[in-house]
Amino acid sequence: MTLTRRSALKTAAAAAALPAAAPLVGAPLWRPARAQAPTIKIGVLNDQSGPYTNTGGVTSVVCAKQALEDFGVAAKGLKVEVISADHQNKPDLAVSITRQWFDRDGVDMLLDVPTSSVALALQSVCREKNKVYLNAGAASSALTGSQCSPNFVHWCYDTYMLSKSTGGAMVKAGGDSWYFLTADYAFGKQLQDDTSTLVKAAGGKVLGAAPYPFPGTTDFSSFLVQAQASGAKVLGLANAGGDTVNSIKQAHEFGLNGSMQIAALLMFINDVHALGLDTAGGLNLTESFYWDMNDKTRAFTKRVLPKTPNNYPNMIHAGCYSAALHYLKAVADMGAAEAKKDGVATVSRMKAMPVEDDCFGTSKIREDGRNMVASYLFEVKTPAESKGPWDYYKLKVTTPADEAWRPLADGHCSFIKT
């Protein structure tokens, strides 16, 4: 191998050319300085390829865009854009994408973000960059508690609300001894803890719990048999997504649904659809939105359905719509330039204005960032009771907004001046 000037030059050229191709691959990374037209940008960050694809995913983006349409963006003289990305449930990827969105792409508001570990990781990023963070997808009540932030609003549910509605209401309805099947990670454990506290407060007993490895467990048979042996009246499923679907399917197989009531502590209408009514019938779960609840929710659903025909909206999707709509109202009130500059100010404006939309009716955002909507305990219909596609729920108990959430003082949110 002789080194000639030719081959040396070829090397250098080749080595230089390849990285120079990177801007083409990573086009969104490289932006020339842009003209200062105040375009409001909303970034929907959620799971589009993993276990939460149907409970969030593309339908959330559709609902966010619907908010733009319903608000009448053009008529109000605003320029708004919605972009989205898949965080694959990985906190570092989410942080990376979010930083880039804020630093380079001019995103002003972060929306959805399921998976509590990811949601928590983004709190400090949004606070540091002073942007608006509206979370509809994650469950952890710590987001308005120990990890609260003035840039943040938690829109439509959390672990406390779920526990109180499903746990508390079920105890009142006679399910006073519980056995938990818990996904062994922070979210599952928190759900179990919150529900246990509320069950005991309502006069019930917790007879035991089976923590199973998460993720990766598909077979729950041995845990279910242990639950059966405990003699508890209620089987509490402290898990979500595919785990919930599997555990319910197998609970049926082992005949648990005959002897125990099954309480799915976190479950959405899309999971019910995946299970099928013959398995899911009789389940108890809590959501803060149901598409068939009243005329307004039906009208909303009718508007979004053409763009997401196989996936009806659940409370997260409705939450994305409601959050985006309220955000736009605040922005219109403040003026786009002001809203872009200061996330805390925008969120404060949002807290000052009452929330009003077709999905949740009226609600108010509390100082710690908790949007107070009512919660509903639903029972899933049996196949005989269901009269049409996605006609799945019947309402059992309504918990009004002022009772559904953890009291402000108990959250120990640091920036609230008491």
Binding site: S49, T53, Y212, D219, G242, E253
Partner: protein, 295 residues
């Protein structure tokens, strides 16, 4: 009530039985892997995705063609097996000349593609699939209620496993197959169409995975991620049993199911990891696995 190590006797027996049932699944799945590795020297990381395809195939047969569970037990493996033939002819056959590890990497890539495509098409929530009416219900065994379907799974798995082992170890076809993997040119010189034999073997391994998929469809959520949940454990089973040994995989599959079942009673959080612990111990003491031939 007899207490063993602080656990009531009936509960323990129930868990052991459940462990055996799970073991049947592991044995079934690892069988296909062992066949493919033993005969073709390919580490088929795509096995989990093929299992998933079998489950989806049975769902599709039901949903699009109205074909029920029992016909699907034959049709789904057939369909996925045909897919396996196509795979082998186009991609897998190029791997035979390469180092093992490239086979592992390629099939790993294949699994990403297959699972990704199914996720794009069907989402991640899963599709409903019911237990066939005739197998519903449970039998009271005294110490626990055993779902009839699970009993059926053990029986079906055992039958298929033993039949496969018998075919490979005891029939002339199996002998030809084993000879072909040891010395292909010589066997070809005898007039046997070796490439076709190899293709069919790969398809056979794939069909076994798909059969396990059909068995799994009524009890596990039929979703694109279902394969990856199993694949690590199944690999461990094959490695522990001995990478070329059919009987090794079967016995280890059942054995590991039982061990996992016991772990679920005493220390449930570790039940997913105990398999790896066993694998490390076995590999350190007896690297070719419990029943494997010397490398």
């Amino acid at each position: 009530m007899i207490m063993i190590f602080g656990i009531p006797g009936p509960l323990l027996f129930g868990q052991l039985l459940l462990g055996l049932i799970n073991g049947a699944f592991y044995a079934m799945l690892s069988l296909g892997l062992a066949v493919i590795f033993g005969m073709l020297n390919i580490i088929n990381f795509a096995h989990g995705s093929l299992f998933m395809m079998g489950a989806f195939a049975s769902w599709m047969l039901l949903n699009y063609l109205g074909i029920g569970y029992f016909p699907a037990l034959i049709l789904a493996p057939l369909l996925v097996g045909i897919f396996g033939i196509i795979l082998e002819k186009t991609i897998i056959s190029r791997l035979y000349k390469l180092d093992h590890l490239y086979g592992l990497l390629l099939t790993f890539g294949l699994s990403l593609v297959i699972e990704g495509l199914f996720r794009n098409a069907y989402g991640s929530s899963g599709m409903p699939y019911r237990i066939p009416n005739i197998l519903q219900g449970a039998t009271n065994l005294g110490f626990m209620y055993m779902p009839n379907y699970r009993g059926w799974v053990v029986v079906a798995a055992l039958v298929v496993c033993i039949a496969t082992w018998a075919i490979i170890e005891k029939t002339p076809l199996g002998a030809t197959l084993r000879a072909a993997t040891e010395n292909a040119p010589l066997v070809q010189a005898f007039g046997v169409n070796v490439p076709r034999l190899i293709t069919l073997t790969y398809a056979g391994g794939v069909a076994l995975a798909a059969f396990a998929g059909v068995l799994a469809a009524p009890i596990y959520s039929v979703n694109p991620n279902m394969g990856s949940n199993f694949i690590n454990t199944v690999f461990a089973v094959v490695v522990i049993g001995g990478m070329g040994s059919i009987m090794g995989s079967i016995i280890t599959g059942f054995g590991l199911g039982v061990i996992e079942g016991l772990t679920k009673v005493f220390y449930p959080q570790a039940s997913a990891t105990v398999v790896f612990l066993v694998m490390v111990i076995v590999l350190l003491i007896r690297p070719r696995g419990l029943f494997g031939k010397a490398a």
